[in-house]
Subunit: 248 residues, 2 copies
Amino acid sequence: MPEKFRRKPYELFYWPGIPGRGEYVRLALEVAGAPWIDVVRERETGMDEMMALMDASEVARPSFAPPFLRDGTTIVGQVAAILFWLGPRLGLAPTPEKGALWTHQLQLTIADLVNEAHDVHHPVGMGLYYEDQKKEAARRAEEFRTARIPKFLDYFESILTANGATESKPHLVGKSLTYADLSLFHTVDGLKYAFPKATGRLLKNRPLVSSLHAAVKKRPRIKAYLASTRRQPFNEAGIFRHYSELDR
Amino acid sequence: MPEKFRRKPYELFYWPGIPGRGEYVRLALEVAGAPWIDVVRERETGMDEMMALMDASEVARPSFAPPFLRDGTTIVGQVAAILFWLGPRLGLAPTPEKGALWTHQLQLTIADLVNEAHDVHHPVGMGLYYEDQKKEAARRAEEFRTARIPKFLDYFESILTANGATESKPHLVGKSLTYADLSLFHTVDGLKYAFPKATGRLLKNRPLVSSLHAAVKKRPRIKAYLASTRRQPFNEAGIFRHYSELDR
């Protein structure tokens, strides 16, 4: 059944209050114009439903953590796996096996960068507050800014170059938009929020990554989404956090 | 072409000297009896080949980091993506879309645990030595031992239970061995090496995870592999490191 005739919306289950990892799924659903519900934000019973769906005594295939997506009777967890499921359904990934897996491989590499961005403000433990690990975070942030962000951005710049991307057509895979483009956009957006000085400096020498970020941001559906209340702003409870002492 | 008539071996590219993330791929190849080469260890030119294959000016789809696998003209990086590629080819995953993705989702969750295990000894920066971040590692290790390992092991125990696994047939997915079983085996093996006291204690109350570990370990091909020189022992340059001060 073509997407436009779907009657049942996709249901995204994720913590409310932050863009977080759920945002990678939201952007794919939004850019495709797919019907979807941000369950915990939109249904009064959403949080209870989400917790129940993570309980192996209630469902056969519970996810370890949000986000997860329900599509009819299928529930898929892990951002990269959700996007692998949605990619062909939303026209956001090549369908042949090799192209689909390459897009997925890029998503997994973006996920590695996202994990590292999170660990900067939680180097010692995710159960502790940032305030209890500020000294350690300062050490970790330095390596992240000076070695890790550049290494990842260089990689994606080289992939864009190898794919024949141009400033007007900046795609990671093939000649059209994939979820990997959306995910790199959001990750760069998060880095710009969290580390504006370092990221701004680094982007100057990565013209294709910069173009990709700008191009995704001005796509009509993304622009409309970013201006809507469905979009939650970056904040200091999420993955990308701005602590000025960690930026330089 | 059935695997047993393959003439060209799979080529695994990974850093020599540690089991590392490459081990998840090695175990899948070994248990299936597939022909494969550990390129950097077995070919004099291996390291140069590996570096060249990560260079976007030489190949169209370079990986960000090892391990990656070459299968004829296809190169796949990221452990979870490699196993997603190998799964159906080696008979180590269900082939229907939903079952394949569920197995993959479990692999991605195992990968999250593996990342956290690595970060315990490198909380402040992967470019620094453990000796330069011992104090921070001690803080992180406490949370890992008391909150994170138990949470992950409980999750996998619950998945085994929901799948109807028994102590004699301890499988995460369906009724036969998948790469998710192999990966959970190796991760538990690594945790037993790195945190023998904490892991030993925790496994006592997770009988199905313990059974899975024991059952994989005594499979004939795994047993033969573990006793061979192809297997590299855990050590303090890898992901799972034993520092007695971090165990309790």
